[in-house]
């Protein structure tokens, strides 16, 4: 019984490894990029164009803080030339385990194949006290910079530089695309600011839209969460209502956040509540990203349905 089992397992292994292993390799884009979120995937597409193949690990309809390292992530990372991460501990709960499971030495932190957006930018809310008593804080800074098109325009330059380092033959192509993206952001920025000027104020569910609010000069009047990462409590919501009663504004939250808290505030404050998907769609390009920001700008001013 025993030797036959060994033989069977061995045979199955050999068939799987050598029979299926050398799969035909067709003409592929030069770089395989794995992006942790759809915003980073958008950036990869915007800069890499036809030269890159992009896979996104975290879909935009769920919270990138809370995921598990799944086998499909490890498989994607196994073949990646470059990992584009948000960083600042946004993906700390799953990305390290996924990288470890992939066995790809090119994309571990410190290698040219590992790129963390947060490390290239000046983040808001840096140097906070690293104390979990204050909720799910990120001492490296607020990781939701992808909602700030100006920072994304800066990041585009850095991404172009990294892509050029991995594929020097296309350096100019990447640099040009980064410039185009930056110009597009710069072209639309004045319009966004003009539309948002005089925005009454916003209440956010989480600190995920802080960057956009700062960019647009829209005052953040409060958060539905009592501290980051903790669901709203009745006492916190009542306090918000007391403080904001009589003023005007809009409540913003995202597709995966519970509607209960925002509904309570809407009832008691008479403010509009607007729920939108936080990040762009999985296959978004730069135009879709700018339209996505555009829609959030409308939401901040309360003029979106």
């Amino acid at each position: 019984m025993l030797p036959s089992v060994v033989r069977l397992v061995g045979l199955v292994g050999i068939v799987l490894v050598f029979g299926v292993g050398p799969a035909p390799v067709s003409a592929e884009p030069s770089l395989r990029i794995v992006a942790t979120t759809s915003s980073m995937g958008m950036l990869a597409r915007a800069i890499g164009g036809d030269a890159v193949d992009v896979r996104v690990l975290a879909p935009p309809d769920r919270d990138a803080h809370y995921l598990l390292a799944r086998p499909s992530m490890m498989l994607a990372l196994r073949r990646a030339d470059l990992l584009l991460a948000v960083g600042a501990d946004l993906e700390v709960g799953w990305l390290p385990a996924a990288i470890r499971g992939a066995g790809n030495g090119r994309i571990v932190p410190g290698q040219p194949g590992y790129f963390e957006g947060a490390a290239q930018l000046v983040l808001l809310e840096r140097d906070q006290l690293a104390d979990r008593g204050r909720g799910d804080v990120h001492p490296a800074g607020n990781p939701h910079f992808y909602m700030d098109p100006s920072r994304m325009a800066l990041l585009a330059r850095a991404v172009a530089g990294r892509l050029a380092a991995l594929d020097p033959g296309r350096a100019e192509y990447f640099a040009d695309r980064a410039v185009v993206f930056g110009d597009e952001v710069a072209r639309r920025l004045p319009d966004w600011r003009a539309r948002a000027s005089g925005a009454a104020g916003v209440v956010l569910y989480h600190k995920d839209l802080v960057y956009l609010a700062v960019l647009l000069d829209a005052p953040v009047r409060g958060y539905v969460e009592p501290v980051p990462g903790i669901p709203p409590t009745a006492s916190h919501l009542r306090e918000l209502v007391t403080r904001l009663d009589g003023s005007d504004g809009v409540i913003l939250y995202t597709s995966f956040q519970s509607a209960d808290g925002p509904e309570f505030l809407e009832r008691h404050l008479g403010w509009t509540r607007i729920r939108r998907q936080l990040e762009v769609d999985l296959d978004a390009d730069s135009a879709a990203y700018l339209d996505h920001i555009d829609a959030w700008v409308d939401a901040m001013t309360g003029s979106s349905p």
């Binding site: 799969a23 799944r70 498989l75 385990a97 963390e116 000046v122 979990r132 409060g222 903790i230």
Partner: protein
């Protein structure tokens, strides 16, 4: 313009002044410059963006000039003609001056940008600070050059302390653990298995102390210690390669074997307070050994992990060693004595569903036990081999809601184990014992509300439960247990759980028991990353 300044023969600082004056008066060269300070956060952001983009342009031009200068220098060493040399020297000087200009402009812009960073965050503090006592603290210069930013210093190992506190009560006077270790067909005779019965009432079952980090560019290391009853035990201490061939990883040291699904989980990762019965009965909790593991993830369209382990073989239930205390009658087999192999396959099912199926196999070259049955000669020692086969399936549904609401996890595992032992005395007829046992469990966990889960588990061991001796074959009945639990995770760092167990165990006779746990767990330290 560069030539004009050269004509003036001025120093660097004078040049900065001139540059700034020109900028201020001519405006368009650099819009919204120091003369018209931006005021609102939006203006500051815009200016910051402008400066940053201009800095990139400057760096680009500087790099171009540097390359150009290097080329000229080469030409200069080769040029013999006086006129050519003079022209080249002039060109080199021009490049140098232009680079000086660029450096000056960069310095000026950086000087302007520094206070702007502070202004942005200070202004942003205005509306936010009343809500967030932490606030938006003053900004530092950008963390240029680093490739990863996080909470800690990656030089030091990441440290986590995970205490596991229990309240336990049962209908067997606190001896449920002992009962589970004497199940018919699974009795481990002569095995140095420590029966860790939680006392009724409060107990600190274990404090797990975990360290991890990168040793050097080639290895990652983990060290996990369990502290219980005043003793420290090295649960896992191993290094793992960072950069071998693509998809290939080697792990060496003391580690939890990669067989099955639950085997490599630490106590704090379990979905229930206690371990599933098949693991308890067949591996004494789990297969944790010292040795080497090689895993390979081939580049296939589906996730397929192949693993092989060469282990020392010290597990009391499958690779027990009595040679040390019975040197006269048993021979010590040199390690590694236990070899395992496993395969895990996960098809691509999109973001909502994850399915993983796996199979594992293991064989021990040496397993030693003492006599147990009345029919066996007193003092008889048995020696032989043991092997097992396992199969597992895990399905997980991610609803996309926050805090695990409506997520589902289903896990099922099966193990079949054979021990083939012979007596070591020259008794007639020769003593022998072949034990064939199996174990199975299925468990389901469902997120009933944000941060709340309910779980159920059914285990059975000995559904196949046969003992072959010289006297013939004996079949023993199977034992089973059901468990229900409710878990509340206030955050990812703390956990409260209530669990109820009902067991029907054959240990000489049919025994039943009820058991309940209240568990509190927390994780103090770095944010752990968890596998599916």
């Amino acid at each position: 313009m560069g030539r004009l300044w050269v004509g003036w023969g001025m120093g660097r600082q004078a040049l900065i002044c001139v540059a700034l004056c020109i900028c201020a008066t001519l405006g368009p060269a650099l819009p919204a410059s120091a003369a018209a300070r931006p005021r609102t956060p939006a203006e500051i952001e815009a200016r910051r963006l402008e400066i940053a983009l201009r800095l990139v342009e400057l760096a680009d031009e500087d790099a171009r000039l540097a390359a150009n200068g290097a080329q000229l220098a080469v030409q200069l060493t080769e040029a013999l003609d006086q006129d050519t040399r003079a022209a080249l020297e002039d060109a080199v000087a021009q490049v140098g001056y232009r680079r000086g200009e660029l450096a000056d402009e960069r310095a000026a812009l950086e000087a302007e940008a520094r206070p702007l960073e502070a202004i942005v965050t200070r202004n942003a503090t205005g509306p936010l600070s009343t809500l967030d006592p932490v606030g938006l603290a003053g900004a530092q210069p950008p963390p240029a050059g680093t490739e990863q930013v996080g909470a800690g210093n990656a030089f030091n190992p990441a440290i986590t302390i995970i205490p596991d506190g229990l309240y336990t009560n049962d209908t067997r006077r606190g001896r449920v653990g002992e009962l589970l270790r004497t199940v018919d067909g699974f009795r481990a005779t002569g095995a140095g298995l420590d029966v860790a019965d939680s006392p009724r009432g409060f107990s600190l079952r274990e404090v797990e102390l975990a360290f991890s980090g990168a040793v050097d560019p080639y290895f990652d290391a983990w060290a996990t210690f369990g502290i219980a009853d005043g003793e420290i035990e090295a649960e896992e201490v191993f290094v793992q390669t960072r950069r071998l061939l693509p998809g290939l990883q080697v792990r060496a040291g003391r580690f939890f074997s990669g067989i099955g699904y639950l085997n490599r989980q630490h106590t704090h990762q379990w979905a229930f307070v206690d371990q599933a019965l098949p693991y308890e009965a067949l591996f004494g909790g789990r297969l944790e050994e010292t040795g080497v593991q090689v895993t390979w993830l081939p580049a296939l369209p589906v996730y397929l992990q192949l693993g092989f382990e060469a282990l020392q073989g010290e597990n009391p239930l499958i690779a027990n060693q009595l040679a040390e205390s019975n040197a006269d009658r048993l021979e010590q087999t040199a390690g590694p004595r236990l070899f395992t192999g496993f395969v895990k396959l996960a098809p691509e099912l999109g973001y909502d569903h994850t399915l993983q199926v796996g199979a594992s196999f293991g064989r021990s070259r040496s397993h030693q036990e003492t006599a147990v049955a009345p029919s066996e000669p007193v003092g008889e020692l048995f020696e032989g081999t043991a092997w097992f086969l396992g199969a597992e399936g895990i399905w997980r549904y991610d609803s996309g809601r926050q805090y695990g609401e409506r997520d589902v996890t289903l896990v099922g595992e099966y193990f079949y184990r054979v021990k083939d032992l012979d007596g070591t005395t020259s008794a007639m007829p020769p003593a022998m014992r072949v034990s064939r046992q199996d174990g199975i469990y299925v468990q389901a966990v469902y997120g009933i509300a944000p941060r709340w889960t309910v779980g159920g588990r059914a285990d059975a061991i000995g559904r196949r439960n046969r003992l072959e001796t010289p006297l013939g074959r004996a079949e023993s009945p199977s034992s089973s247990r059901v468990a229900l639990d409710v878990t509340f995770d206030p955050t990812e760092f703390s956990r409260l759980r209530v669990q109820y167990n009902h067991g029907r165990i054959w240990s000489g006779q049919r025994e039943t028991y009820h058991q309940m746990y209240v568990q509190f767990q927390m994780s103090l330290g770095v944010h752990g990353a968890h596998r599916f």
